[in-house]
C-alpha cells in the first residue's frame, strides 16, 4: 500500500528524517513509535504531501507520490490527522465532519447525512450540534479521526490519536480503530501509548533521531535492546539486563 524508501529531510543543521524506509501493508495496522523529536510527525507531513523530502521515494499503491500536494493525495485516498488538533473552531461537529464527506459527496444534504453516519462510527453522535471549540481533548481527538474517516480513505495516517486521553477513553477508542481497519482501511499510526500499539499493530517501526532503528512485530520490538536504549539512554539495556540477572541470582 505504502512504501517509503530512503526518505531524508533536513531543516538547516538538523537532519529530522535520515534515510527512513518503511512499508505499510494493505489492510494492516502499522505502528510508528519513537522518542519525542525522533521525526515521526515530520515523516507523516512528508508522506501526506505537506513537506517535500530532500531525498527518497514514497510509493502509494505502486505510484510515486513525492511532490503531489496534500489535497490531491487526499482525493487519491491518503489522509492524515494532526497531532495538534486542527478543528474548524467556528463550526459544529456535524459541519466539521461534513467537510470531509464533501470530498466524495458534492451534495450538501448528503454530506451532512454522511457526517452523522461517521459520527456514529466514532461515538460522537451525541455531540453533533456542539461547536468544535467547546469540545474536550478527547472530543477533539475523535473529531480529527472522524473528519479523516469521512473522506473514505484507503490509507489513514493517525498521528497520536490516543495522546492525552484517559485509560477509559483509550479503551473506548481501541475498538473504533480496529473497526476502521476491519472496514478495509489501511492504517499507519504514530502512537506513544504502548498498550494501544501492542494490541492494534501487526508491524512496528521505531524511529530515533530520524532513523529507523528497528522493525518487527510489537512483541519483538519491546525486547529489542536498541529500542530500549533509544528511549532510556545509552547503556540502559545492559543495566536492565544486569538488574534482572541480579534479581534472578538473588532469588
Amino acid at each position: 500500500m505504502l512504501e517509503i524508501a530512503g526518505v531524508s529531510k533536513r531543516f538547516g543543521g538538523l537532519l529530522a528524517v535520515d534515510a527512513a524506509s518503511l512499508t505499510a501493508e494493505r489492510g494492516a495496522i502499522t505502528g510508528l513509535i519513537g522518542p519525542n523529536g525522533a521525526g515521526k510527525t515530520t515523516l507523516f507531513a512528508i508522506i501526506a504531501g505537506f513537506l517535500e523530502p530532500d531525498q527518497g521515494s514514497i510509493r502509494f499503491e505502486g505510484e510515486e507520490i513525492v511532490g503531489i500536494p496534500p489535497h490531491r493525495l487526499a482525493r487519491r485516498g491518503l489522509v492524515r490527522t494532526f497531532q495538534i488538533m486542527q478543528p474548524f473552531q467556528g463550526l459544529t461537529v456535524r459541519e466539521n465532519i461534513a467537510v470531509g464527506c464533501h470530498l466524495r459527496l458534492p451534495n450538501r444534504a448528503a454530506a451532512l447525512a454522511g457526517a452523522e453516519a461517521v459520527a456514529r462510527r466514532v461515538g460522537m453522535e451525541a455531540l453533533l450540534d456542539q461547536p468544535a471549540a467547546t469540545l474536550t481533548i478527547a472530543g477533539r481527538k475523535r473529531l480529527e479521526l472522524a473528519r479523516a474517516l469521512a473522506t473514505d480513505p484507503k490509507l489513514l495516517l493517525l498521528d497520536e490519536v490516543m495522546a492525552g486521553l484517559t485509560p477509559t477513553e483509550i479503551a473506548e477508542l481501541l475498538p473504533v480503530i480496529e473497526a476502521i481497519r476491519a472496514g478495509g482501511t489501511t492504517i499507519l499510526m504514530i502512537e506513544h501509548v504502548m498498550a494501544a500499539v501492542m494490541s492494534l499493530a501487526e508491524q512496528v517501526y521505531v524511529l530515533s533521531d530520524g532513523r529507523v532503528i528497528a522493525a518487527g512485530p510489537p512483541a519483538d520490538i519491546v525486547a529489542d535492546p536498541l529500542v530500549i536504549e533509544a528511549y532510556l539512554g545509552h547503556g540502559a539495556a545492559e543495566r536492565l539486563q544486569r538488574q534482572q540477572m541480579g534479581e534472578v541470582a538473588g532469588a
Binding site: 496534500p70 487526499a74 482525493r75 489522509v79 494532526f82 474548524f88 459541519e95 450538501r108
Partner: protein, 307 residues
C-alpha cells in the same frame, strides 16, 4: 428583501428613495466583500480595485465603443472578476494571509488609481462624464424608482449567492479554508482554487456595483472609482452587520447609511467627517458586538430560550 420591492410606490419623497438606493448600493458592495472576506476570511482592504475596474469598464465601453449600458453590466462584472482574479491569484499563490493580504489589496487599489489618473483611456484626472440621454433602454431612468428596482435585483442576486454559499459544497470548503487552511488541505480541499473562485465571485459583484454607480451618478474619476472610501465602505458594511452571514451586509448598509445621514444633518457636509464617524462606529462594534449586529438577534433569542 421582497418586502422592499414596492418601496418606491410607498416612498413619495426623492430624498428617501435616494436613501434606499444608497443603502442597497452599500449592501451590494458589502455583500461582494462578504463572499471573500466574510465566508472566505480573506479580508481585503482594496475592494475599490474591483469596483473601480467594473465602473471604468462600464463607462469606457459605452463612451468609446458605444455599447449599450445594459450590456455593459455583465461586461463590468466580468472586468471586476478579472481584476479580482489577477489580485487574488498573485496574493494566494504567494500565500499572503491576514494583514499581508489586506495590505496587498490596498496597494493594488492604489496602483489602479494612479494608472487611471494618468492614462487617457480613463479620462485621467478629469474623469469621465456620461452624456445624459434619459431612457430606460439606455439605463438612465427618468425617476429614481427604475434605479431602485434594478439595484434591488442585483442585491437580491448577491444575497442569493451568499445563501447558496451557505448551502453548498463550495461554501463548506470556503469556510473550512477560513477556519483552518491546513486541516482543509488534509481533507482534500485545494485552498488556492477555492479562494480564487471566491475572489472571482466577489470581484464580479463589485464590478456590478461599479457599473450601477456610473449609471446612477453619470460621472466617474479615479478617486471615486479606486479611492479608499469605496474599500472602506465595502468592508465596514459586512463587519458592522455581521460578516459571513446573508443578512449582515443589508443590516450593516442600513446602519451605516443612517449614521451617515445623521452625521451630515448634525455637522453639515464637512468633507471626511463621515470617516470619523465610521471609525468610531467600527471601534464600538468591534468592542461590543464583534460578530456584527445580526448576532444581537441571535443573542436575544438565546436569552429568551434560557429564560
Amino acid at each position: 428583501m421582497l418586502v422592499l420591492l414596492p418601496l418606491p410606490l410607498a416612498l413619495r419623497s426623492d430624498f428617501w428613495l435616494h436613501f434606499a438606493i444608497m443603502t442597497l448600493y452599500g449592501a451590494l458592495l458589502g455583500q461582494a466583500w462578504n463572499l471573500l472576506g466574510g465566508y472566505g476570511g480573506q479580508r481585503s482592504f482594496g475592494h475599490a480595485a474591483f469596483f473601480g475596474t467594473g465602473a471604468y469598464a462600464a463607462a469606457v465601453l459605452q463612451l468609446r465603443l458605444g455599447i449599450n449600458p445594459w450590456l455593459c453590466l455583465p461586461l463590468a462584472a466580468l472586468s471586476g472578476a478579472a481584476a479580482a482574479g489577477v489580485v487574488g491569484a498573485l496574493s494566494f499563490r504567494y500565500g499572503l494571509r491576514g494583514s499581508y493580504f489586506a495590505l496587498a489589496t490596498l496597494a493594488f487599489a492604489e496602483v489602479f488609481r494612479i494608472v487611471a489618473d494618468s492614462i487617457s483611456l480613463t479620462g485621467a484626472g478629469d474623469g469621465l462624464q456620461i452624456p445624459l440621454h434619459p431612457s430606460a433602454l439606455n439605463f438612465q431612468f427618468t425617476g429614481r424608482a427604475g434605479f431602485f428596482w434594478t439595484l434591488w435585483l442585483m442585491t437580491a442576486l448577491a444575497m442569493a449567492l451568499a445563501w447558496w454559499i451557505e448551502n453548498s459544497r463550495f461554501g463548506a470548503e470556503l469556510v473550512a479554508v477560513r477556519e483552518n487552511e491546513d486541516a482543509a488541505r488534509a481533507l482534500g480541499v485545494d485552498p488556492f482554487r477555492i479562494k480564487l473562485l471566491a475572489a472571482l465571485l466577489s470581484g464580479a459583484l463589485s464590478g456590478l456595483a461599479g457599473a450601477f454607480y456610473v449609471q446612477y451618478f453619470l460621472y466617474l474619476d479615479p478617486r471615486l472609482a479606486y479611492g479608499l472610501e469605496v474599500s472602506v465602505t465595502a468592508l465596514l458594511v459586512p463587519l458592522i452587520g455581521g460578516a459571513g452571514t446573508v443578512l449582515g451586509p443589508l443590516i450593516g448598509a442600513l446602519t451605516l447609511r443612517a449614521l451617515d445621514q445623521l452625521a451630515s444633518a448634525v455637522t453639515g457636509d464637512a468633507p471626511g467627517l463621515n470617516l470619523v464617524f465610521y471609525g468610531a462606529l467600527l471601534i464600538a462594534i468591534l468592542a461590543f458586538v464583534p460578530d456584527g449586529l445580526v448576532s444581537l438577534g441571535r443573542r436575544v433569542r438565546l436569552r429568551r430560550a434560557h429564560a
